[in-house]
């Protein structure tokens, strides 16, 4: 079984495409559709890495990331922030919230895979 990746994304198309492509690369995928559900699934599923959209309903990605990093049991799970906001300020904001890396949409899969490889535990 491949590494378990939690995708937190409210957009159905983005979710479908990213999970399809990552499954083909051998990853096991679990999905949450808002920040609060994402946090819950981090606790219940213990993923190896989280791909966190920032513009989420219920609890946005920044808050979910900050909460995860403030939780002793979750803070070691790497989080890559995904966002359509491409400004440097957005990158800084995501990293300040505690994200380990940042990827802008549209996602360049090769680039994302490289970042995932760096962050995933061996």
């Amino acid at each position: 079984m491949g590494k378990k990746i939690l995708i937190v994304e409210d957009n159905e198309m983005n979710r479908d495409m990213l999970s399809r492509r990552l499954v083909r690369k051998g990853y096991e995928i679990v999905i949450a559709v808002d920040g609060a559900a994402g946090l819950e699934m981090m606790k219940s599923e213990r993923p190896d890495l989280v791909l966190m959209d920032m513009g989420l309903p219920v609890m946005d990605g920044w808050a979910a990331t900050a909460n995860a990093k403030a939780d002793e049991t979750l803070k070691m799970i790497p989080i890559i922030a995904l966002t359509a906001h491409a400004l440097e300020a957005d990158r800084v904001r995501a990293l300040e919230a505690g994200a380990d890396d940042f990827e802008t949409k549209p996602i360049n899969l090769a680039g994302l895979l490289e970042k995932m490889t760096v962050l995933l535990p061996a």
Partner: protein
């Protein structure tokens, strides 16, 4: 005794349709029997037999008597043929003739009444439908006519039944005043409640091929409840065959909040369109891309194009980017596949504008934009085998920061919230409307959760009666101006108010001495009002009834489009964008559409067409077409929304 008889008469006449005819039959039999007693008063006496109308050919017994008696009921003229018969016989002949006239008159009366009643049923729309595979529109409002028009444009050959609580004469008048195109359809307007099972059976909802549920204008604020109840009924075993093999259904919900319940009522099997949500999102897209409404209408409402899922052989290993110009007369918009997870029902996944390096497999199908009824012309696949990083380019993304909204309606809060979702940085929205204080309280109370932190929302008093105040708001200083359809004051038509506001803005624009004036996006309720806006600063007209109807009519035929429609309008997803064409091709020299398509693909965008000064909006042009573009021309693309 008499009262009891009277009651039984009432009981049977109200519960049985054949009772009047049985009553006449019984009365006729009684009269015949009474007439036959003439036998005992010398009917076949030697004196009587000389009369022309009395005959004992069958031996002067029961049959001759029966014949004589019956003849007088059916033929009043037979009375005169008894001349010379005894007085008793004449009396019975007279009695039978008079009773015959009464019975025949009553029979004719009943028959005429039944015919009239059937005609009245048809006129009032309370007849029973005996169709199979028909289109059924449940509910009636302004959108009904546009839906019918689109069905006519799409060449629907099946009969269209409309069931509504609205006065059927009103529906007929709407249809009569509608476009000539409607004459191509066979329309059957019916009156009745759309949420009652017997009424749905009456219009053969279980045998319909497509059902469109419109919000009942007559039900007012409760229209969503009626729609939800009907959806629940239509999703029961009464209307859905085994394996969900029932009619295709699409429903309109007025308030966004009710869409979730409607989704549950439809068991998430059918597309639900929230009109308030859809209008607000479309208006915001028009603010982001002036000219969007025209593109949207051409793409979805012209009846020239369809979006279909196609199966193409040998896709395994082909990169999506390679398919960009694979069809001379079609644009490949995305991919679709059936997602089958263990223990779950299969689900169709559709993705627009995937990355160009997405490698397809044999179970992928492609989503194609093509001309209606024109088969795809395949051309050789391009030969770029791997994804190349796009070159850097300077692009100006829409970033609306200062918005003026004129007038007030129930969608205003959603428009503001949608603007906030798209805002890359702080955004300020000023609403200028009558009764500003209470409008502000309403918006803040209802949409408090949607109004985000980087949004500044303020209300200012403005009424058409004090038009001079508009100058003081300084509309030219905003990035975009919205005029929403103001239906609060029912005494003045909303479109008339919008047009007056546009004229006022036009005057202010003229005073600006050719300085740049912001784009103006206006919501209209009637497409004919657009003609009256010529010469005003209107950039985009959203005819709300029109675009919603278009969506409903298309979703009921192709439910998979629901995901696409939602995606095209949601913040953070894929959108239809208008980009300066010089980002893709050289200006002033002939370039092929195939070349532009490949160029757009390098930026992870799908070229849908272009908007040029020369040709206007052109959707899905042939890939082999050559064009020369000018500076102000725009490429229409499908692209990931990016906020900078």
């Amino acid at each position: 005794m008499f009262k009891r008889l009277n009651y039984y008469l009432f009981l049977f006449s109200t519960t049985s349709r054949v009772f009047p005819y049985l009553l006449i039959l019984g009365l006729a039999s009684l009269v015949i029997l009474v007439g036959m007693t003439a036998y005992f008063f010398g009917l076949f006496s030697a004196e009587a037999i000389l009369a022309e109308g009395i005959d004992d050919a069958l031996g002067g017994g029961l049959l001759d008597t029966l014949w004589w008696s019956m003849k007088h009921i059916l033929d009043p003229g037979a009375l005169s043929e008894n001349y010379g018969a005894p007085a008793g016989v004449i009396f019975f002949a007279l009695f039978n003739s008079i009773m015959g006239l009464i019975i025949t008159g009553a029979l004719i009366g009943f028959i005429v009444s039944a015919i009239q009643s059937a005609m009245e049923d048809a006129r009032r729309g309370s007849a029973t439908i005996r169709e199979n595979g028909h289109y059924l529109i449940l509910g009636w409002n302004r959108k009904g006519i546009v839906i019918l028009e689109l069905l006519a444009k799409l060449g629907a050959t099946n009969r269209v039944v409309v069931l509504t609580e609205t006065d059927i004469e009103q529906v007929r008048t709407d249809i009569r005043q509608g476009p000539r195109l409607l004459k191509q359809l066979t329309l059957l307007p019916m009156q009745g409640s759309i949420s009652v099972n017997s009424e749905l059976r009456r219009v053969a909802a279980h045998r319909a091929s497509h059902i469109i549920l419109l919000s009942e204008s007559k039900s007012g604020a409760g229209s969503d409840l009626t729609t939800i109840k009907t959806l629940t009924l239509l999703n029961s075993g009464l209307y859905q065959g085994p394996g969900g093999n029932g009619p295709k259904i699409a429903a309109e919900i007025v308030n966004k909040e009710n869409a979730v319940i409607a989704g549950i009522a439809s068991k998430h099997n059918h597309p639900i369109v929230s009109s308030s949500d859809f209008i607000s999102k479309t208006m915001v897209q028009c603010a982001r891309y002036p000219g969007y409404a025209e593109v949207y209408n051409e793409l979805f409402a012209s009846g020239k194009f369809s979006i279909e899922i196609c199966t193409i052989p040998n896709l395994d290993g082909v990169l999506f980017g390679n398919l960009a110009s694979a069809f001379n007369n079609g644009a490949v918009l995305g991919v679709s596949w059936t997602d089958q997870k263990a223990g779950e029902n299969p689900r169709r996944a559709s993705v627009l504008n995937p990355e160009p390096d997405y490698d397809l497999t044999d179970d992928d199908e492609i989503i194609v934009l093509k001309g209606i009824d024109s088969p795809l012309e395949r051309v050789d696949l391009d030969s770029f085998s791997s994804w190349e990083e796009p070159p850097e380019r300077e692009t100006t993304r829409p970033n609306v920061k200062k918005v003026l909204i004129l007038a007030y309606n129930a969608n205003l809060g959603l428009i503001v919230a949608e603007l906030a979702k798209h805002a890359a940085s702080d955004i300020s929205v000023v609403v200028a409307c009558a009764d500003a204080k209470s409008s502000e309280a309403l918006v803040r109370a209802r949409y408090s959760d949607l109004l985000s932190g980087h949004l500044t929302l303020s209300f200012t008093e403005f009424d058409l009666a004090e038009a001079w105040r508009l100058d003081g708001i300084r509309p030219w200083e905003f990035d975009v101006i919205f005029i929403v359809a103001d239906e609060v004051d029912k005494t003045i038509d909303a479109d008339s108010k919008t047009i007056m506001l546009l004229l006022l803005l036009g005057e202010i624009e003229n005073k600006q001495n050719n300085e740049a004036f912001p784009p103006v996006v206006a919501e209209l309720l009637n497409s004919e009002s657009k003609q009256l806006c010529v010469g005003t600063p209107l950039t985009d007209a959203i005819v709300s009834t029109e675009i919603l109807s278009i969506q409903l009519a298309q979703l009921v035929r192709e439910p998979f489009l629901e995901t696409l429609y939602k995606e095209l309008l949601n913040a953070g997803g894929i959108e239809i964008g208008l980009r300066p064409i010089e980002h893709y091709v050289q200006l002033g020299v002939p370039v092929s559409i195939a070349g532009i398509t490949r160029s757009a693909m390098r930026f992870n965008e799908i070229a849908l067409g272009y908007r040029s000064v020369q040709d206007g909006v052109m959707i899905n042009p042939s890939k082999d077409q050559l064009c020369i573009f000018e500076e102000s021309d725009l490429l229409i693309v499908l692209a990931q929304q990016v906020y900078t």
